[in-house]
């Protein structure tokens, strides 16, 4: 288990730095624009809001946050991977890492994102944050259940000897149903006082950063696992 934990932390550092660098270079300018607009709106309304941290500090905070998230996700990924490995030691590391990463990205990011798309700074009423957090967590929970079901379905349908075409359509059905169920949750009622171009750009960058985070994690973890397996074969040791 510790081998997988270490691998997870290492892959987490890699993907955290990768997503951090990408977001720092491409998304921060967009967020700065959004914050400037927000400040201008507040000034026009005669409000004065004192910020806890300056923007440059928040830029550093962003890098710290993505690195911390990368490592935390890496730890969870490593432990889950270890449990799956124990259940079925035969599957190739690269394949398992990508399957696990795909399911996790779907459940932990894509499902909540499709229901409650990310919004740039300046959108979101502080008064509704508790309600929004609850809705978001509900969507996250539904997404995670869906991700587990995807994994179980992939395995169960293969064991039952379903043809690949039917099996893949079955998986798509599980995914679509998962997303559909989240639409039973209440809508986000906060007004969006920024133009559609900025929102679109921000959401695209949000998706790209998260895809990089999860993709980087899975790929780094898979490559590290593959290397370890090749080494083990070379030494002619049985897998632990």
């Amino acid at each position: 288990m510790l081998t997988f934990l270490k691998r997870g932390v290492l892959a987490g550092v890699v993907c955290g730095l990768l997503a951090g660098a990408f977001g720092f270079l491409l998304a921060e300018p967009v967020m700065d624009r959004a914050v400037d607009l927000e400040t201008a709106r507040q000034a026009a309304a005669g409000e004065h809001v004192s910020e806890t941290f300056s923007r440059p500090t928040q830029h550093v905070g962003f890098l710290v946050a993505t690195l911390a998230v990368g490592i935390a996700l890496g730890v969870l990924f490593g432990v889950l991977y270890g449990l799956l490995h124990r259940a079925d030691p035969e599957q190739a590391p690269w394949q398992r890492a990508l399957h696990l990463g795909g399911c996790a990205f779907f459940g932990a990011y894509l499902v909540p994102f499709l229901r409650y798309p990310a919004n740039p700074p300046g959108v979101g009423d502080p008064g509704t944050i508790d309600a929004r957090a609850n809705s978001y967590l509900s969507a996250l929970a539904i997404g995670l259940v869906g991700a587990v079901l995807l994994g179980l379905a992939q395995r169960g349908l293969t064991e039952r000897g379903w043809r690949p075409s039917y099996r893949q359509l079955g998986l798509v059905a599980v995914a679509v149903l998962t997303v559909a169920i989240t639409f039973a949750l209440p809508d986000n009622i906060d007004p969006i006082p920024v133009d559609a171009g900025l929102i679109w750009e921000f959401r695209l960058l949000s998706f790209a950063t998260s895809a990089l985070l999860w993709g980087g994690l899975s790929v780094a973890f898979g490559l590290l696992g593959e290397r370890a397996a090749l080494r083990e074969d070379a030494c002619n040791l049985s897998p632990v």
Binding site: A27, M31, F62, A65, L73, F202
Partner: protein
């Protein structure tokens, strides 16, 4: 990894190692969950035992992780 120990016939060592590994894994998972909570959901709760009321009004963790929270899709103000 444990083969050196088990081949010497010491049974307790691998068992103890396994228990330690499990504990480390559980500790790491808890730490990871607290980290994710701090970045994505905290509104001053984590620091309030240390800082008192100012933790909620200044919202240090939220403000520091502000951009990451927005970009990675969590609810923010």
């Amino acid at each position: 990894m444990n083969s050196a120990n088990s081949s010497t016939g010491v049974l307790a060592a691998p068992v103890a190692q396994q228990a330690v590994a499990t504990l480390v894994a559980i500790g790491a998972v808890l730490l990871a969950l607290v980290t994710l909570y701090a970045v994505f959901l905290d509104q001053g709760q984590l620091l309030s035992p240390v800082l008192g009321k100012v933790a909620a009004t200044a919202n240090y963790l939220h403000e520091l992780a502000h951009d990451g929270r927005h970009l990675l899709g969590a609810p923010c103000h």
